[in-house]
Structure formats: structure tokens, C-alpha cells
Symmetry: C2
Subunit: 273 residues, 2 copies
């Protein structure tokens, strides 16, 4: 077991795999996992030093299972982020032509991101675990009527031909990946802070919490809410802020937040991509 091992979710050739190579370079030891919780489990127990997972797409939004896992795995922290441009391609086995295709396989978010194209082409859609897995499956099915939606790297990995490219609804389609590890580390260059808050369930509680940030001149870049699973219609909040944990205004605001909020966890302080 290499202590510096990196785990990612998906198959070789996936967007996560691409993001991993871009962030860490290619002189690395890595292993793939089928599910997001497996990545967290390995990182949490120290079986791997880092995990890399998709966190948000610029058109379809957050990968909400990952938000929830950051809340559940108390010792997992964000140490970095990287953005990968998503260019979806339609791919099938050699000799298949675009007019042969009736069914497309891909991750539900990728299908969403190509919804306009899929409807125009009148394809039947089949959700699949992830984009690279769907390319692998299409390769194994060896059926000219089936295609996958995935990145170029997956076409190379699974020996498929690209029939059409840039088929996403929006050209400006970017996925942000986060890198997690099992302790909170930051340095003076870290300029982005991620937080989870649970406010009390009283009127104005969220407004009061955001007030701790506003009156200390902290810029909030993002706010998401997630249901608290065992209490219907109550929420936890995920926030991204500008700043460093050593900044005086951040210390002051966080001190206030920890008094005001029922739960308050710093998820990480890292360099914004």
C-alpha cells in the first residue's frame, strides 16, 4: 500500500480520470472505485492519501451525493479543486453510422447535458453509472444501434469511433472536481473556504448566519442547500467563501457562526481554480 495513493470514482478514461491526471500529473499511484462512498471510505481510513471526485457542473449543478458525503465523513476535507471542460461525444463501435443509432447510454447528468441533441435525434436514453462505463458497455455490446456519450479519452480507451462531437446543450460546460484528504491542511496561499452550516429552524436563522459573513466583509461565492435526511423539509447549507483561515475577519465571523449555528464545519481552505 502506497501512502500517496490516489483514488477516483469511475473507470479509466472517465472525466474523473482526466481530472486526476491534470491535477496530479501522470507519475502517480492510483486506483478506481465504483462508488463515491468507497472513495470517502478509503480516504477517511488513510488507505489512500487523496480522493478526486466531481463536485459541480456549470450547467446541471451540484453532485449532491458528494455534498452529503462531505457532511457524513467528518474527517474528510477539501484540499484543492480543478475544472475540466466537458466536451461530450457520441461514440459507437467501428462501422456504426450515426443513422444506425437508436439508444444512447451515459451518466444521467451527461444525458441531461445533451438533452437537446438527444431529443432532436430522437434517441432512446439509457442512464448508466458513469460516462466511461457506458463507453465500455457499448464496446462490449458490439451493437451498431447503441452509442455512448462520453469524452474523447473514453473513445480511445474502449476502441470506439466518435460519430458526433460537442453535443452538449451549452458549449460552456465545465465540471469542477474536488480533491479530498483526511485532515484539514492549508497554507498562506489558500484563498477559498468551504463550509457546512446547520442553522436553527427559526425564522431568519439563515439571514442571521449570512449576516455574520456580510458584516465582516466576507464575500460568499456560493450557497447550496441540502435536505437533512431524517428530518423532512429541514436543510443544511454548503457555502464557498473568499478568504484564508488565518484572516482576522474570517476568525471573527467563524467565531460568531459557531455560536449562532447548530452545526458548523470548515470543509477546507484551498486554492480556487
Amino acid at each position: 500500500m502506497s501512502i500517496e495513493k490516489i483514488v477516483y470514482q469511475g473507470d479509466p478514461g472517465s472525466y474523473s480520470y482526466e481530472a486526476m491526471l491534470e491535477f496530479f500529473g501522470d507519475n502517480i499511484t492510483f486506483e478506481n472505485k465504483d462508488f463515491f462512498p468507497d472513495v470517502f471510505e478509503d480516504v477517511s481510513k488513510g488507505n489512500a492519501k487523496y480522493g478526486i471526485i466531481p463536485f459541480e457542473n456549470s450547467t446541471t449543478g451540484g453532485v449532491y451525493e458528494v455534498f452529503d458525503l462531505l457532511n457524513t465523513y467528518e474527517n474528510c476535507y477539501i484540499v484543492g479543486e480543478i475544472c475540466v471542460e466537458i466536451n461530450h461525444n457520441l461514440m459507437s463501435i467501428k462501422d456504426a453510422k450515426i443513422q444506425d443509432i437508436t439508444t444512447v447510454y451515459s451518466h444521467p447528468q451527461a444525458l441531461d447535458q445533451c438533452k437537446q441533441y438527444i431529443r432532436k435525434m430522437n434517441f432512446h436514453e439509457m442512464p448508466y453509472r458513469n460516462t466511461a462505463t457506458s463507453a465500455k458497455a457499448v464496446s462490449e455490446m458490439n451493437n451498431k444501434s447503441c452509442a455512448a456519450i462520453a469524452n474523447k479519452m473514453a473513445a480511445n480507451f474502449y476502441n470506439l469511433e466518435i460519430l458526433d462531437s460537442k453535443i452538449n446543450n451549452y458549449i460552456n460546460n465545465i465540471t469542477k472536481f474536488i480533491i479530498i484528504t483526511n485532515n484539514l491542511t492549508f497554507d498562506k496561499n489558500s484563498n477559498k473556504i468551504s463550509l457546512i452550516l446547520i442553522t436553527s429552524h427559526s425564522p431568519g436563522a439563515l439571514y442571521e448566519a449570512l449576516g455574520c459573513l456580510a458584516k465582516n466583509n466576507i464575500n460568499m461565492m456560493k450557497l447550496e442547500s441540502r435536505p437533512i435526511k431524517n428530518i423532512p423539509w429541514q436543510y443544511s447549507f454548503y457555502l464557498d467563501l473568499e478568504g484564508n483561515l488565518e484572516d482576522e475577519n474570517i476568525k471573527k465571523a467563524f467565531n460568531e457562526l459557531s455560536i449562532t449555528c447548530k452545526k458548523f464545519k470548515v470543509l477546507g481552505n484551498y486554492i480556487a481554480y
Copy 2:
């Protein structure tokens, strides 16, 4: 064409179908649609009087495609909501036993909601368009190793046997459905308001918008953010508030919001379930 027609997304026997019968009774004219945008399209054009669609689950969160469609279809409004308790069942063809099952088909959110059970049983998961469609597919496959995760009604509709029940991770699993129509209607009993806001992209803009509500003593029950599709990392906000559009404090706050925000749309004023 009946002007009072109701459209829902999914197949007969789905949770949406169940919600429709519960909200409207069974003396109705209805039609099912494959995709959420089809429901909005029919309602927007007046081909159907009402549409009913899932909006949020208490454990997995919002159905984000529907949030986005409420933003896109400017003339679609919420006129009501209803909650349905989700009790997921594992079902397969007659004679199949639980130990025969290797693969489960269902909607990705239903698979998420049963993740603990699926992992414990070591099932391979296959995402499918919706729960009832997966039951129909399992019925047609006629293969003892395949099961669907769906409601009891779907088992009856597609002649499947229930092998295990209440397999969701959390017992308290509720899905909220909304009813949409193509104009904004409310009466004096309407006590819940839904809104979409787009604030300016400046520090503190969201805090300022929430301030318009807080200082007019308006209780916010929910806040969600959604990416603006063609502008990476900018967001629109979806809010639920307590109140009636005729209330003085609501009028005052909304007047302020319409000045402060780049976009401000009342999505509906209806009776909270």
C-alpha cells in the same frame, strides 16, 4: 381535447400517478408524458389545464430539472402541492426469489434512496427513466435475476411480486409534487409563496435580498440555488415563503426585491400541504 385534462410524467402506476389520483380524485381526464419538458409544454400551450410533477424528496433533495423548467417556462405557475409517502419495494416476476436477484432497475433517485439496502444485498444497479417504467421493463424482461424498485401500485400494474418492502434508507421518505397551470391564480387561503430570484453578482447581493424579507418579518422556509446555465458559477435562487400576495408586508418586500434583483418571478401562491 378536454380543457380540464391533467398531464403527468411517467407511466401508469408511478408515484406521480399516485399523487395525481390523491390530489385530483379519480374522476379526471389524464395523459402521461415521457419527459418533464413535455408536461411543461402541454401546460404552457393550454393543451392541458394542469400538470403534476415531482419537485423534492425529503432525503435526496430537489428534482432540479423541474426547478430549471419553472425558470424557463415563464407562463407556468405552481397552484398546489401534495406529499406522497415513498415506500420502495423490491419486485420481480412471479417465482423469482430474493436470492435469484443480481440486478436492480429503478430511477436514479430511487436507487439513491435505497443505496444502503442495494449495497448490503450486493446488487448491481441499473438506472432507469422512472420507477414504474423500470417495473414495466422487468416484467417484459421476464428474467428471475432482475428486479425493479418501485411502489406497490406499480407491482399490481405490471404483475410483479413484491420480494421485500420498505427498503429505503430512511423510513421518513416523502416526495413533494407540485401542480402547475398556465396562469398565476391564488385566493385568500393561499399561504405559501414560491419565488425565483437572480441577484446581481456582487458581494452581499443575496444577503441584501434576504434582508428585504427579514425586515418585513417574512418567514423563509426554503432556499435552493441553481446554476445559470450559460454563465459558469453564477446562480439563480429558488425560495419558499410564508404568506399571501395580498399581505401588506409581502407587497412591500416584493417591491423592494424587484428593485434589488436582476430577475424576480413569483412562481405561485398556493396552500402549503
